[in-house]
């Protein structure tokens, strides 16, 4: 058996005594698509902060490609192959769509290389390809700040993919999107899994169901339950803390 891509071992994070995460364990294998759900304050975003190096865990270890990430700087973790999409779209609003993507695909990411070399042809092609995936070709030279909310979300996802990461961490990609956009996003993420390992955090149950993948339920900083969406929905504990009663039961 090959070793997992990402492994979280007994992670605890304490903010001045408040335990945001406690003894969290999670394993992701190469090519997995995994959804993480949980009520507000369950520690979903903190959990991404730990992986990307924004927050140092009080206890435990994060193993990525068999190496510990603890104590590494954010940009080094990003260069090792972990891309992150934030909850609200975070793109460079004053740059054009194309410029945003150019920064994502550029390699190496050193000042000298950015100053001296022009973008390689293969990277230009990659930018065109990324824009075609998220339907932004016609907006290539538009200031990213002028895009609609959904387009910003997609641009950020495209930027993530442009970094060519092994692991994509996607935080609430469908917040504020229309139903149609939500479906497209779900299909996009599904198509990315396989080549990449994708971890999605979201609240939207329809969206998670459409992803059709294993789900981990986070509650009070702990993994409450892992399994398929249908297993999760039947679990009495999960229903109690999170899902609430189904429509039939209410009737």
């Amino acid at each position: 058996m090959t070793s997992p891509l990402l492994e979280l071992k007994q992670i605890s994070v304490s903010f001045e005594g408040f335990l945001a995460l406690r003894d969290l364990n999670l394993v992701l294998n190469q090519g997995d698509l995994r959804a993480v759900i949980g009520p507000n304050g369950a520690g979903k975003t903190t959990f991404l902060d730990v992986i990307t190096g924004k927050v140092a865990p009080t206890k435990g270890d994060v193993i990525f490609k068999e190496k510990s990430l603890i104590g590494q700087k954010e940009f080094r973790i990003a260069r090792k192959g972990i891309g992150r999409k934030f909850q609200s779209p975070r793109i460079f609003e004053n740059l054009s769509v194309q410029e945003n993507l150019a920064l994502a695909v550029s390699r190496p990411k050193t000042p000298l290389s950015l100053l001296m070399n022009s973008l390689k042809v293969k990277h230009l092609d990659q930018i065109q390809h990324l824009m075609s995936i998220v339907n932004l070709q016609s907006k290539a030279n538009i200031r990213a700040g002028a895009l609609s909310h959904g387009q910003k979300q997609w641009l950020e996802i495209a930027m993530l993919v442009g970094q060519d990461p092994d692991l994509l961490l996607v935080d609430e990609p469908v917040a504020g999107l229309t139903d149609e956009e939500t479906d497209l996003t779900a299909d996009l993420l599904k198509s990315l899994a396989g080549d990449h390992t994708v971890l999605v955090i979201d609240h939207d149950m329809e969206f998670i169901r459409r992803l059709d993948c294993p789900v981990s339920v986070l509650h009070q900083g702990h993994v409450l339950k892992e399994g398929s969406m249908s297993d999760i929905q039947k679990d009495p504990l999960v229903i109690e803390v999170y899902l609430g009663k189904t429509d039939e039961e209410e009737q």
Partner: protein
């Protein structure tokens, strides 16, 4: 987008033509006194370019550029003092005698070399800016804390230089206008004409250099750092390195600017490191237009020229005018004069004043008198 950029380049071209015409015409039109002033203000445009790089593009408001400006000035002045110290007792600059110093302090020694001096004018400020910047940026100090810190550093340098009579003549500063260079007095008319030309050429070179830095992805990362530093980090770039480099470049530009300003004003003193002067540098850029480079040059030259004209006519009123100008820019023209022109400001002003009539509908649906829609 394409319309926008061609219009932008037209505006830039016009301003450049005017600026270069002014520079070429000035030596034959202006009396030496005015020419010398213009030369000084052109040299100040170089420090303003640096402020635009770190503030306009990267979003770091430094209130301590006076440090690097003064360092460049001191480097130039030390060389000039040594260069003409031959006839003084002990062969060292005259002021040392006042404090009973008989031996040249060690750090003066390398300034006997003209090559060392030419390098040190920009390298010493750049290295100090780089070191200071690295420590600050590594600890993720930004925003208003960064501004306060740079201002505190400025005060530290100011007080230190003020107190060192035996090393650099303290508060009196180092005079350069009576020193010798190439057998000429630095303050003489012919030398001042030369310094004007050197300033003019260096402003243009500095602009090309700054333009080259921000032109492509490096500049986009700077803008990215200004707008969302965390995103830059998670995209795999190390913002600390980029900020250190750009702060160091701005320091080097400030040094060149300070050296040119010193030889044209005839003295360098700790007065270059006062708090208001460093704030003025920011005002030039704010008024000219942040993040436009050309706006920084325009702001520095025009505001300072206005300052000297107004101060001659109505002494003591300049501070009010400068304050008013700053308030006007902050409230009405947040992108500065150049940003305002580029964004159709003049046209909008004409509408406001009722000189141009506004279209009633979308431009493509302009209606004629009979109420029919013209295509």
């Amino acid at each position: 987008m394409s319309i926008f950029s061609t219009k932008k380049s037209w505006i830039n071209l016009t301003i450049w033509v005017l600026l270069i015409a002014l520079i070429i015409a000035a030596p034959s039109v202006l009396p030496v006194f005015r020419l010398n002033l213009l030369g000084r203000y052109l040299s100040l445009a170089i420090v303003a370019l640096g402020v635009d790089l770190i503030w306009g593009f990267t979003g770091m408001l430094s209130l301590g550029q006076g440090i690097f400006f003064a360092l460049g000035g001191y480097c130039a002045a030390m060389f000039l003092q040594l260069n003409s110290a031959g006839e003084f007792p002990n062969g060292i600059p005259e002021f040392f005698g006042l404090y009973g110093v008989e031996k040249l302090p060690f750090f003066w020694e390398p300034f006997k070399s003209s090559i060392f001096t030419l390098l040190s004018i920009w390298l010493i400020p750049a290295i100090i800016a780089g070191l200071l910047g690295y420590l600050v940026f590594r600890n993720r100090i930004k925003g208003v804390y960064f501004s306060i810190l740079t201002q505190a550093a400025l005060l530290v340098f100011f007080n230190f230089f003020n107190g060192q009579q035996k090393l650099i003549n303290g508060t009196n500063g180092l005079k350069t206008d009576v020193t010798q260079l190439f057998g000429q007095m630095v303050g003489s008319e012919i030398m001042q004409r030369w310094f004007f030309w050197i300033s003019a050429v260096l402003v243009i070179l500095a602009w090309f250099f700054a333009r080259w830095i921000v032109r492509d992805r490096f500049g986009n990362i700077l803008i990215g750092i200004r707008d969302d530093e965390a995103r830059v980090r998670f995209t795999g770039y190390n913002p600390v390195i980029f900020k250190t480099i750009i702060f160091s470049i701005a320091g080097g530009l400030a040094g060149i600017s300070g050296a040119l300003y010193t030889v044209q004003s005839g003295i360098v003193s700790p007065q270059f490191m006062t708090v208001p002067f460093s704030i003025e540098m920011v005002v030039w850029v704010a008024v000219g237009g942040r993040g436009t480079l050309l706006g920084a040059i325009l702001g520095a030259v025009l505001i300072n020229y206005a300052k000297s004209l107004v101060s001659e006519a109505l002494p003591a009123s300049w501070m009010f005018i400068q304050g008013g100008l700053f308030i006007l820019v902050v409230t009405a023209l947040p992108e500065g004069v150049l940003g305002w022109i580029r964004k159709d400001g003049p046209k909008k002003l004409l509408f406001l004043l009722g000189i141009n009539k506004k279209l009633e509908t979308y431009p493509s649906l302009e209606v004629n008198e009979q109420g029919e829609v013209k295509s």
